[in-house]
Amino acid sequence: MMGQPQSGAEILLRALEEQGVEVIFGYPGGAVLPIYDALFQQNALRHILVRHEQAAVHAAEGYARSTGRVGVVLVTSGPGATNAVTGLVDALMDSVPVVCLTGQVPTHLIGNDAFQEADTTGITRPATKHNYLVKRAEDLARVIHEAFHVARSGRPGPVVVDLPKDILIGPAPYRSKPESAHRTYRPRTVPDAGAICAAVTALKRARRPIVYAGGGVINAGPEASRRLTHFVRRTGFPCTNTLMGLGSFPASDPHFLGMLGMHGTYEANLAMHGSDVMLNIGARFDDRVTGRLAAFSPGSLKIHADIDPSNINKNVAVDIPIVGDAAQVLAALIEAWEADPEPAEAIDDWWQQIETWRGKDSLRFTQRKNPDALIKPQYAVRRLYELCRESGRDVFISTEVGQHQMWAAQHFRFERPNRWMTSGGLGTMGYGLPAAMGVQVAHPDALVIDIAGEASILMNIQEMGTLAQYRLPVKVFILNNQYMGMVRQWQELLHGSRYSESYSAALPDFVKLAESFHAKGLRASCLGELDDVIREMLDTPGAVIADIAVDPAENCYPMIPSGAAHNEMILGPEQAERAASVTDEGLMLV
């Protein structure tokens, strides 16, 4: 193999192997046929044939987020590449390391409107962390190695490598992974000692501290989550997680206040609002989290640790910026905390205050207990959680986007990182099923469940075929309320209950749909059937769709209406009229 010259496609696969790639999610087409031919003739790389290129990227995201490794996608030119764009932006927004290889027409045809030609690097430039068009065979191996380096280091993200067909067919030289640092791209990972020192001084003096941790902690690897847990327990501070950060701190720990933000808990949001020193690690002051910026945590000194300097002072002006990797920042904070002779302020009064807020039980809901009662979606998630826990298995949850996603975030509790896959930044309906697929490929023996809505699941339902082909035992748990629930909720609260186009008409029979895709279909129509259906789903060795008919009128609370502040939360339907007081400015927000 070493003696004779290798084709570009062979060089590509060799570089992937050197990068430790085991699985590729892809879909063939004319421009990538040389790669598929090379794949056919080797056994080191496994290829998972998806049913749509968007799903390939989401599957790679699920694979990446559940393992901490780079997810790899292979699609053809033109429509293959454009179909992948939604997944790429999703990965960009949620900082997921993905390398997406796209086929391209041969270099001499680029720009000629050739068959299945698209300006892939042009289209994906704002959709990726970086992209490449390989125009010379001698650049191929170097670019592949560089793409992996860029995707996984610093703030992770998607990288596209566009591969013209002549480069794949012609001979190309191989180069190994470079030893030296990249000539321009050197993200800072080690935090500035002065900033750490200033942060610890402020935290020791805090009377009302809060730790606000996000997806950056998970991206920094499991050690970062262990350090976060240690730091919070050592300091005794309260800790809240963003949607992306769930699992970075154990939900069962009494220091945990739950998720914050638009559908976060009362105690988390009021603690943010009332805090005097806020430590943000690996979160980005997203608008779902801050609510009205002018009223966001008005009295706090803000410490913000982020690996991406452009996240600092973007939405919220901070007092102590720390640029660095979350794991390294936490290690430095722990060390400085122990080294600092100053005793920390007592925060008993603060905890007392937080416990009063916690006493509101803001995630409460009322489930009628007669067996023929309508199932509350929150209750369905709670039971799913409890029965999963009883099973003792390693459980990974993905979601689609909407009310069910928020109920899953509120009621499914995560003790460990990398177990929660959801589309946070982009809010991509159709994310959950392919993401779960990617998780299951990486963790064949784990219990992988997509908590879905009946509208979202239809956006990538074709992936049931992929589950069947590879015998991936993913469980799809549909909270079926016959509405695009979150759209309906906003229409109810903000648009005079005019349910414009938000009703899920003409739904398929999900049981038969499952069966037609060689999976098991289950249905629970009332409370009395719920536990049996969940148990059967969990006990089934193969893929399952469980269609859970839930109360179609239920809304997701608590809620910070758009344009409102953390201390203006709506706790339940009894306060829903508060949403009517949303200002015109608030109405303009999404």
């Binding site: 042009g122 860029v150 000539r183 321009t184 791209y185 300097p309």
Partner: protein
């Protein structure tokens, strides 16, 4: 509303396909202003180009622009010349004036006062070449307008820090 400021930002970038599109796309995509933009290769051996951008925004936005630019993979260096201290910024303009009689004479007189060079002359027109700060060129164009200003072509600014400091440091 915090005060807006103007910033002259210089970038050293890898001279590769698409690098200018990345920079411009970032400004367009995030809604930042570009008041002036120049780009040219400055180091053939290292294959580097320099991009000079004049932009405006609140101090927080300017900081954000610099951080976003620094995040682009082919960007070596981002320097905010306005913030780093004294710098020189020069632009060249070609200014065509179509006039006869007294306005024609007056335009030549003003060009002389601005130390503009006359690079093309016909009985009914001049093309002046003028180098200087943005303000100087703006002032010259304003003066030419009533005299028969017909067309303007400007380069955008080239800028360097004063003294021994370079963008590499």
């Amino acid at each position: 509303m915090p005060e807006q400021r103007t910033a002259t930002i210089s970038l050293l970038v890898d001279n590769e396909a698409g690098v200018l599109a990345r920079v411009i796309g970032l400004f367009a995509g995030r809604g930042y202003n570009i008041d002036s933009l120049t780009v040219a290769a400055v180091d053939d051996a290292r294959q580097q180009s320099r991009i000079n951008i004049v932009t405006s925004g609140t101090p927080m936005v300017i900081e954000q622009i610099k951080a976003q630019l620094d995040r682009l993979v082919p960007v070596h260096k981002v320097a905010d010349l306005t913030q780093l201290g004294a710098h020189v910024a020069r632009e060249m303009a070609l200014v065509k004036v179509v006039a006869s009689g007294e306005p024609r004479v007056e335009s030549l007189r003003i060009a002389d006062a601005f130390r503009a060079r006359t690079v093309d002359t016909t009985p009914g027109s001049f093309v002046f070449e003028l180098t200087g700060s943005i303000d100087k060129i703006d002032a010259f164009i304003a003066l030419m307008r009533p005299l028969g200003l017909a067309e303007v072509s400007r380069t955008g600014i080239a800028a360097l820090a004063r003294g021994q400091n370079t963008i590499q440091q």
